[in-house]
Amino acid sequence: MSASWDNVHEGMEIPTLTKNCSTQQLVYWAAGSGDFYQIHYDHNFARATGLENIIVHGALKHAFLGQLLHDWVGNEGSVKRVGCSYRGMDFPDQDIQCKGIVTRKYEEAGERLVDVEIWTENPDGVKTSPGTGTVRLP
């Protein structure tokens, strides 16, 4: 069930999207996004730069937050803005929970809009990519 204007209220949580990236998914993402920086798929390269493991692309986490909002509003609505900062690293084979809380519901220029605080969360409960988004609802 997609979100509907009448059922959305400030303070509500939106359905969580759980991700867990295999190294293969990071390679798909490299190809899909065109970001071929080796710290995301080459262990030796990542270690040589001082990382203990390969890390999940920041932009992939941004895209996960985009999916969180898209899957919530469906195709009747649309995603108008997605923004996040990359505060902590995430690693393959670990859950990345994408979550959101509605912060504002309003009408502007004839559109029904909802602002959502969004973030990715690692298994320790740390928000690794906090941000905000705006969706339009029918």
């Binding site: 899909g32 941004h62 895209a63 899957d71």
Partner: protein, 162 residues
């Protein structure tokens, strides 16, 4: 380390680059690239894979999922289309780079078949002393237009060098 105030990391050349538009980058969106992107994120919504499903949902063709703003044309015989400001070196070398954040505002649908052109400009350069030591934080704004000249997306990116 001395306590002497150090010269700014930001060179005159970097300062002068603020607000200047880069060269234009051309980006294509096609059905294969939309499917690849959607698959790499893990979408299951058929609108990203099946053109009939996309049209039934009101899109012209497969829509670009959030985060996908096309694939820059690649030609090994042409020099890189990277924006020139990326190459500007600070007054003291900073070896490492981190992606600090991404913010994308969508102003119109972007679908397979669209050809976008983008230009970017540095909107600010700040220096900070943080837990990574000396950091240079560059905010870049990239504007994407479609083949009809409409602005379809504005991306604000934050890059951190340290």
């Amino acid at each position: 380390m001395s306590d002497e105030p150090q010269e700014s990391l930001i060179t005159d050349e970097m300062q002068a680059s603020i607000g200047k538009d880069s060269e234009i980058t051309t980006l294509e969106i096609d059905k294969t690239s939309v499917r690849m992107f959607a698959r790499s994120v893990g979408y299951t919504d058929p609108v990203y894979y099946d053109e009939e499903a996309a049209q039934a949902a009101g899109y012209r063709s497969l829509p670009a999922p959030p985060g996908y703003l096309g694939t820059p044309l690649y030609d090994p015989n042409k020099r890189s289309a990277r924006p020139t400001q990326v190459a500007l070196e600070p007054s003291r070398p900073l070896k490492r780079m981190l992606n600090g954040g991404t913010d994308i505002e969508y102003l119109a649908d972007i679908c397979a078949g669209d050809v976008l052109t983008s230009t970017s400009a540095v909107s600010s350069i700040e220096e900070r002393l943080g837990r990574l030591g000396e950091m240079l934080i560059t905010t870049t704004k990239t504007t994407y237009r479609n083949q009809h000249g409409e602005i379809v997306a504005i991306m604000t990116g934050t890059g951190i060098r340290y």
